[in-house]
């Protein structure tokens, strides 16, 4: 409507008409847009700009220079980038699967038991998320402590497993579990509410039609929470690529050289905590820039594969 009007107007008045129709909308969106620019877009732009300089502790804030793509060349000449990329992909894939499968499992289980018990059960799963990251990570380092200590050693003892220093012997297991349990609570929250939003009559109808509990989950529940599952999948992929804090607090990328180092941990180590004391801000920024591109690329692929347009357009559950 507004558009057809604008076309009919003489050229110099089009701008004025556009402002008249859209000024209110801009006014209302303004604050949110400023926030997005300052806190989301600006850091990305600064990261990219910085990645073409040699800014580091050694140059100080005033003596830096433009060095073109030297940081990127250095990164891909490094003998470790391939290992670290592999680490990252394995880490993201396994933790993602854990998040979604366990999150969905907990949501389903907790909704199939007595409501109060289900609520308590879900609350327990939220504990990792609501406890401070550092406390949660410390708990895991203690649980995985070297023998004769460590709760894990006590848990596995009855199964005849030798006590061991888990962070050394099975670092990936610990990294996956610590991130997996936190992430699972996210999937659980989203999927619990999605399942609860399915009208009760659909389940009753399915029972009358002759479906057992497993058939109801497979044929009714899962297809109806397809979109929330995809949302969890996409969202968790993004946050896992960028996550580093639990790895940092437990294995710190070890054991050995880059044993569990992921791309974001690598960037952190380079830019903010490297062994030589020279904090290579610009080099780290280049690594982060790659991470941004990787995340962007993967989200585009995921949204293509899952057809985001439909996700937004298709009505989720018809109630009547």
């Amino acid at each position: 409507m507004a558009r057809t009007e604008a076309i009919a107007l003489p050229r110099e008045r089009q701008g004025a008409a556009w402002w008249r129709t859209n000024a209110t909308a801009l006014l209302f969106m303004g604050p949110a847009m400023v926030l997005v620019l300052v806190f989301f877009l600006a850091p990305v732009v600064i990261t990219f700009v910085m990645s073409f300089t040699d800014l580091a502790t050694s140059t100080g804030l005033s003596n830096w220079q433009w060095i073109g793509s030297a940081n990127y060349e250095r990164m891909f000449r490094s003998q470790f980038w391939f290992t670290i990329l592999g680490n990252t992909l394995v880490y993201v894939a396994i933790v993602l699967a854990f998040n979604v499968v366990v999150g969905l499992g907990v949501a389903l289980l907790s909704l199939h038991v007595e409501p109060k018990a289900g609520g308590v059960f879900r609350a327990l799963w939220l504990l990792p998320r609501i406890s401070p990251s550092v406390v949660y990570a410390l708990m895991w380092t203690w649980a995985a402590a070297s023998p004769p200590f460590g709760m894990l050693n006590y848990i596995v003892a009855p199964f005849g497993l030798e006590p061991r220093f888990w962070l050394q012997s099975d670092p990936w297991l610990i990294v996956i579990l610590i991130n997996g349990f936190v992430g699972a609570s996210f999937g659980m929250l989203i999927l619990t509410s999605a399942i609860k939003a399915i009208p009760e009559d659909l389940f009753r109808a399915a029972r009358v039609d002759g479906a057992n509990a497993l058939q109801i989950v497979r044929r009714i529940t899962l297809p109806l929470v397809k979109w929330p599952i995809l949302f969890v999948l996409v969202y968790q992929t993004m946050s896992l690529f960028a996550s580093y804090e639990y790895i940092l607090l437990t294995t710190n990328g070890g054991p050995g050289l880059y044993g569990t180092e992921t791309w974001s941990v690598w960037a952190f180590h380079t830019a903010l905590a490297n062994y030589y004391g020279n904090l290579d801000f610009a080099y780290g920024a280049a690594m982060s820039a790659i991470l941004v591109l990787l995340g962007l690329g993967i989200s585009i692929v995921l949204l293509r594969v899952f057809r985001f347009g439909q996700l937004v357009a298709e009505p989720r559950v018809e109630v009547d």
Partner: protein
């Protein structure tokens, strides 16, 4: 299949949903569970379906007690108030779902029976659509087809027409009734609309607050309501009620109150007659006559033309009586009129308990 409910009770914590319900449904009978919102109709139906476990009481299908069986073992088909079509399946998949879950039904047989059921309710042209692409009436038919496709012994319908517009409701009313007789299935349907119950059902079970009030044919319910609640609930516009003093005169009884004096033809006999009663008369059993004639006099309060007839409210003393008048009736508001009571159509109720006196 005969259905019998014995002392069926359902409590939700402190709340009593259904209390000691006894009901016998003959094989092939179409029974309506009728009552105001929250009276326990859906709860009853869900217990018969096996979705709710009764707190106490028994359910029999034929001679077999079935209240411990799972829904799928009961041989029932059910249409839900929301239709509960699976939104992610096509019409054909929806109708075929109950058969798909049965190993014994082959793919060819399933397809054949889906087409059959769809044709029965005239949705065979819509088999590839999703529920979201159907009108309310079409969704309703699909839900019916899904309930019937497995050839159940008993069909349960929860407010099957409440989501339809007035015209479609009328159409489906007739259609469901015809279908039920055609298939010859025992059916229970829930409704809060007395007209629906009266027009469709062979017998109507009227409930209030979880307690069965009356169980009778539509004609009996209308002609001889067993208590004041039944009298009030059945019939549109609703029955008029007023309190009156009863006094004997010439061996019969006279009911008297301000502006009204009625000789009761077959009143409660002799000594048992209480001093007062609630008198009920339906609007269609009152006639407007010239002032001074009839058993009551009052003035016209409002006239509502309805096409085929008119509803006239007449102020008689303190109370207002509703009368159905022929379309030709003309009156000004405030005009004085007389009212004639059809003598055989009076209902007397105990003022305290509401039970029928005569």
């Amino acid at each position: 299949m005969r259905v019998a409910l014995r002392g069926l009770t359902k409590k939700f914590g402190e709340v009593v949903g259904v209390h000691e319900l006894d009901l016998e449904i003959r094989s092939g009978e179409f029974v309506a569970l009728l009552g105001p919102s929250g009276c326990g109709k859906t709860t009853t139906l869900l217990m018969v379906a096996g979705i709710y476990r009764p707190t106490s009481g028994q359910i029999f299908f034929g001679d077999r007690r079935i209240d411990h069986l799972l829904p799928k073992e009961r041989g029932i088909g059910m249409v839900f108030q929301s239709y509960a079509l699976y939104p992610h399946m096509t019409v054909a998949e929806n109708i075929g779902f109950p058969l798909e879950l049965r190993r014994s039904v082959s793919n060819e047989e399933r397809e054949r029976r889906v087409r059959e059921a769809a044709a029965l309710v005239q949705v065979d042209a819509l088999l590839d659509r999703r529920p979201a692409q159907l009108s309310g009436g079409q969704q309703q038919r699909v839900a019916l087809a899904r309930a019937l496709v497995k050839r159940p012994d008993i069909l349960l319908l929860d407010e099957p027409l409440s989501n339809l517009d007035a015209r479609l409701r009328h159409e489906m009313r007739g259609e469901i009734k015809r279908l039920q007789k055609e298939v010859g299935i025992t059916a229970i349907f829930v409704t809060h609309d007395q007209l629906e119950a009266l027009t469709m059902a062979d017998r109507v079970a009227l409930m209030r607050d979880g307690v069965l009030q009356a169980y009778a044919t539509p004609t009996e319910l209308y002609a001889r309501p067993v208590n004041q609640f039944v009298a009030e609930f059945i019939g549109t516009p609703p029955m008029n009620f007023f309190a009156a003093d009863l006094a004997p005169r010439n061996g019969s009884l006279v009911a008297r109150t301000e502006g009204i004096e009625l000789a009761l033809p077959a009143g409660p006999r002799g000594a048992k007659a209480p001093p007062t009663a609630t008198v009920g008369i339906r609007p269609e059993h009152l006639a407007i006559v010239a002032p001074g004639q009839g058993e009551a006099s009052g003035e016209v309060y409002v006239v509502e033309p309805m096409g085929r007839e008119q509803i006239v409210d007449v102020q008689v003393g303190e109370r207002r009586l509703r009368v159905i008048a022929p379309p030709g009736f003309v009156a000004k508001i405030g005009e004085r009129v007389g009212l004639r009571f059809a003598p055989e159509q009076l209902h007397l109720f105990d003022p305290a308990s509401g039970a029928r006196l005569a």
